[in-house]
Amino acid sequence: MSMWKEHYRVGSDLIDTQHQELFKRVSRFIKVVQGDEPWEERLEQVKETLVFMQHYVIIHFADEENLQKEIGYPELERHTRIHESFKGEIQEFAQTVEREGFDEEKVQEFSAKVMTWLIMHVGREDQKIGEFLRSRGGHK
């Protein structure tokens, strides 16, 4: 069973590819976080993923917001606010672990939060972009 589900597609090649990459990374992150090896051995991968996420969501959100602008998506402003708030949460977590250290339980909780957010956001919020795209005959 994969974390990515085919019905998450919105109908833009760029956005669908980025979403699949995000799901793949979050899925790998969860595997590392839930792994059996000693925490110290997994920590490097956890840190790498966190850095990747911080950068990748910025790129992906910007691309997705550009698509929304391009097609005249009416909920752009609301959608951008949701993106900003999620970026803020990732930033806040990164600062917390930087300050207080990478506690295993905190990282587990964070990875669950990211997973849930990603599924709800792509599975519901982004699907509205897909519907809008389809209503105007798809994306070129």
Binding site: S27, A112, K113, M115
Partner: protein, 153 residues
């Protein structure tokens, strides 16, 4: 405790389960209880303040909890650890937020407190002093029971 507070929770759960689990829960028979009591192994409590005050308790059987997170993550889960309980808290949080948004369309403005996890089905939560209604949501992987105790000011 008014019965019209219940339907938004049913609607919100259907919506969230459809997106997260590709599942359509059906509504079991409502029952009234005197206190909020965890009925299953994995429980998430959420407080409500604002125009409505009270508590919500989400009770997931262990096998259901593990299967939900399995579907969401694509990974087999074997224990109710911080990852699983945090995912359940998020699910409960989203359902509660959406249900209260539906209620706010009836011009009731409410806020929710961060979810608290309780493992095990013993004891009573000192969360509510008034009666609650239990809403069972039946799925192929088990029944989630949401105990709802909400009261106007």
């Amino acid at each position: 405790m008014r019965v019209e507070y219940i339907n938004p929770f049913y609607q919100a759960t259907v919506d969230v389960f459809r997106v997260m689990l590709s599942m359509e829960p059906t509504r079991g028979t409502l029952r009234a209880v005197q206190e909020l009591v965890p009925v299953s192994e994995a429980n998430v409590g959420i407080g409500v303040t604002g125009d409505l005050r009270g508590s919500l308790l989400y009770s997931f059987p262990k096998t259901m909890a593990l299967e939900m997170v399995h579907i969401m993550s694509g990974m087999e889960m074997t224990k109710l650890d911080a990852f699983v309980t945090s995912a359940l808290s998020e699910v409960a949080n989203i359902i509660s937020g959406n249900a209260l948004t539906y209620l706010s369309k009836n011009s009731l403005a409410c806020d929710i407190s961060p979810p608290q996890v309780f493992i095990g089905s013993t004891g009573t939560l000192a969360m509510a002093t008034e009666k609650a209604i239990v809403l069972p949501l039946v799925t192929d992987i088990g029944t989630l029971e949401i105990s709802i105790s909400l009261h106007g000011k």
